[in-house]
């Protein structure tokens, strides 16, 4: 009665039936172990358990007691059970990874970008967001100056793609407010990554930065590159010299705002990393006008004069900057070197003027400092091959150069 095709049929049907049940059990077990014990149940264990289960069930039911002519169907069903069990094992692992872990913080479910936005996402996982075209004014607030409006319409901004739309909107709002110096910004981003922007400019931008009892006046002068708001300057006109603070600069030959922002400004304020210059871009140098805040009594000199000379004076600096600058003026220099025997001998020699400032092991990172640098180590702690900063007389140090060009060393020094 039972031919091979029927045996196969029976084998597969038993296998499917028993296999589904056992794989449900083993899959759940694997997922639970992964989630709570963070361990992976080996596949061999899963296979063994499923076969044992198959055998037990088969015996209980009576299927396994039959004679030799049932071996084909039993073999097939065992195979099916095994395959399903292994499949369930991998499914269980994936399930455990997909289930969000419990954290102390609240989780929120939000709308995300749509599949259409995937084209705008680059390899780093950032989506490029552009304005839909028209930048509107906010009701009740002054309207945007045309230059800012044009910049907002043309620029694009990059934000991480794994944030929900609501968060992208709030991030873009903060970024626009900082980068373009806006007072109010309302942004709504659609699923395709296009932003509808309404904005109003900062009010009393210059006046609010002028201290009480001071006045702001503009004068033409030859401006140093990178002159930025906040710089302390001395303006010398015919006869008179006044000291004040820079509020704004414009150069006489303005290039397009976006280009000027990116090319000619080596040390831009970090408030505007992408698209458009910062709210107050540093001057690109050359002939231009500078707006300076000066005490009221001195403002007359600026008003009378046509042109002046701008001298930038030191402002507030950090103590570490001052210390290193004083060292430099005293003829002491710092060099970044690779330690060799000669240097080590010089360092341990008490009479030499060369002093070990910082040390970084060539192999593993030293403990403590996040970068691996140890400051103020003992002179004999330096081993050949370590990187070190040595400080001493500049001419003595000139002999201990780095072998590689500075650029490669700087990249490695991170």
């Amino acid at each position: 009665m039972a031919g091979t095709p029927v045996e196969v049929l029976m084998g597969i049907s038993y296998g499917l039936l028993l296999g589904s049940v056992t794989s449900l059990g083993t899959g759940t077990l694997v997922a639970v172990v992964r989630l709570y014990a963070d361990r992976s149940v080996p596949q061999s264990v899963v296979a063994a358990v499923s076969l044992v289960g198959f055998g037990a069930f088969g015996t209980v039911v009576g299927v396994l007691d039959v004679g030799a002519d049932q071996t084909l169907s039993l073999a097939i069903s065992a195979l099916v059970v095994l395959l399903l069990a292994l499949y369930a094992h991998s499914l269980g692992e994936r399930l455990a990874e997909a289930i969000p872990r419990r954290t102390a913080q609240t989780t929120e479910r939000n709308r995300t970008l749509a599949a259409d936005a995937i084209d705008a996402i680059d390899a780093v996982g950032h989506v490029t967001i552009r304005s839909t075209g028209d930048v509107r004014d906010v009701d009740g607030y002054p309207s945007l100056p045309p230059s800012v409006r044009v910049r907002l319409e043309r620029d694009s901004w990059r934000l991480p793609a794994d944030l929900p739309l609501a968060e992208l909107e709030s991030r873009l709002q903060a970024r626009l407010r900082t980068a373009y110096d806006l007072h109010t910004v309302e942004v709504s981003i659609d699923g395709r990554g296009r932003a509808t922007i309404a904005a109003s400019p900062a009010t009393k931008g210059v006046a609010s930065r002028v201290p009480d009892g001071w006045r702001a006046a503009s004068i033409r002068a030859l401006l140093p590159t990178d002159l930025a708001p906040g710089d302390e300057v001395r303006v010398e006109t015919d006869g008179e010299t006044v000291a004040g603070t820079v509020l704004d600069t414009t150069t006489a030959a303005p290039t397009e705002p976006a280009d000027c922002g990116e090319r000619d400004r080596p040390r831009a304020p970090r408030a505007a990393p992408d698209g458009g210059g910062g709210a107050h871009p540093a001057s690109s140098g050359g002939d231009g006008r500078v707006t300076v805040a000066v005490p009221t009594s001195d403002a007359g000199a600026l008003v009378d004069a046509d042109r002046g000379r701008v001298v930038v004076t030191p402002g507030e600096t950090t103590a570490e900057f001052d210390a290193l600058s004083l060292l430099e003026r005293a003829g002491t220099a710092a060099r970044k070197v690779v330690v060799d025997e000669e240097l080590k001998a010089t360092l341990t020699d008490e009479a030499s003027d060369v002093w070990l400032f910082a040390l970084r092991g060539a192999g593993e990172r030293a403990d403590g400092s996040p970068d691996g640098w140890q400051f103020g180590p003992e002179a004999d702690a330096a081993e050949a091959g370590d990187r070190a900063f040595v400080v001493g007389d500049q001419h003595r140090l000139a002999r201990f150069g780095l072998d590689e060009p500075n650029a490669a060393a700087a990249m490695e020094g991170r």
Binding site: S20, L163, P224, D226, R270, L326, F375, G376, A398
Partner: protein, 384 residues
């Protein structure tokens, strides 16, 4: 014990009729359970359930019921013995139709869940699509109530602190503590224009401490004391870079004279910005054009040292030693940290010897970790 398969009374229309009905019932059960499973999965993880998981989960319910029936009634359908091909065909039928309805149920369940919970269904495949899907479930991180000023940096504006205090930010769900701290740092730096961010994130993902420092821009903040920057008309040498020492010459038909020496900063067109001593500034005339020459100098990595120091916790503090301060008369070697420079009236003592003593009127620059610098500060009777 079954010796030979026993056929049912007759595999006739009524058997077939019952079998088909049961198959339909079980298949619908599979579909229904799969719908439920897919719905719950989408709700919990915001991602579509994998096909294998859904089908296997759905199909296992009818399988379970069949197994129970098999156990207790010794037959699966209508008296067909377990060895008979009719049982086999029946079971295979249940599974095949069950799989089909399970797949349909999975789609339905997924679609329902997206509708009910307003989840955006991203139909694409690949890593980028995964990234977008990950955005569906985010974790809310609240910044602390008081935001501190980072040591060694200029404090940020009050309105930035006000905007950030107790603000809730959303981040993707599965970030490690380090990743979260790094993303928070980048975010504050880019969106709020903060120069330096120091953040402590606890193991459970909450922010314990946030300290901000402002970025310095412009020229004044990078000028050493006693120096100034002027812009002069004069072509600088090709490939001049920041720090190159320059000699500024005035050239006329009759003579050449050295006006001043300085350091190159930058240039644009024929306007060069140079760093000179403040006393030399008056030597420059506004309307004149100058010639600029570079002279040799030893290489110097101070900028890199400064950048490295900035990245670590160590910093420099400036201490004014008055006649009455406890530091007066102390050996340099005894002071916690390292004394880099002592400014004594007009004299600058670089890297003073350990046996050097501090006198009243000195200004000492001490380098060390914050605890060491605090120890230096508490040497004095009143803290600054």
């Amino acid at each position: 014990m079954i010796e030979t398969p026993v056929a049912p009374a007759a595999i006739d229309a009524s058997w077939t009729h019952t079998a088909l009905l049961h198959i339909l019932g079980y298949a619908l059960l599979a579909g229904l359970m799969t719908t439920g499973v897919a719905f719950v999965y989408r709700k919990a993880t915001v991602r579509p359930i994998p096909v294998g998981t859904a089908v296997l989960a759905g199909v296992s319910f009818p399988a379970l019921l069949l197994s129970i029936e098999w156990l207790f009634r010794d037959t699966v359908i209508l008296g067909s013995s377990l060895d008979h091909y009719s049982t086999g065909a029946y079971i295979v039928g249940v599974f095949v139709t069950g799989t089909t309805t399970a797949e349909a149920g999975r789609r339905i369940g997924d679609h329902l869940a997206c509708g009910v919970f307003e989840i955006t269904a991203v139909d694409a495949r690949g890593e980028v699509a995964d990234l977008v899907r990950a955005a569906g479930l985010s974790v809310a991180v609240t910044l602390p109530e008081t935001i501190e000023d980072a040591e060694g940096y200029r404090p940020v504006d009050d309105d930035v602190k006000r905007a950030l205090a107790e603000r809730t930010l959303l981040f993707p769900q599965r970030l490690s503590v380090d990743e979260l701290a790094a993303r928070l740092r980048t975010r504050l730096e880019r969106d709020y224009g903060v120069g330096h961010v120091h953040v402590d994130v606890a193991a459970d993902g909450s922010v314990e401490r946030l300290a901000l420092g402002a970025l310095r821009s412009g020229i004044s903040s990078a000028l050493p004391p006693g120096r100034a920057v002027v812009a002069v008309r004069g072509d600088s040498p090709e490939n001049a870079s920041v720090g190159d020492p320059l000699e500024v010459w005035r050239s006329s038909e009759r003579s050449r004279e050295l006006v001043a020496t300085g350091t190159y900063r930058s240039s644009r067109g024929d306007v060069t910005s140079i760093l000179v001593d403040e006393d030399d500034v008056d030597a420059f005339e506004a309307a004149e054009t100058y010639r600029l020459l570079t002279h040799p100098d030893t290489p110097d990595d101070s900028n890199e040292l400064r950048a490295t120091v900035r990245r670590t916790a160590e910093t420099v503090t400036k201490v004014a030693v008055t006649d009455s301060s406890p530091l007066e008369g102390e050996f340099v070697g005894w002071i916690p940290g390292t004394v880099l420079v002592v400014q004594r009236e007009d004299e600058v003592l670089a890297l003073p010897d350990d046996k050097e003593t501090l006198a009243g009127g000195d200004t000492a620059y001490v380098f060390g970790t914050p605890p060491q610098l605090r120890a230096v500060a508490s040497y004095e009777p009143e803290s600054a």
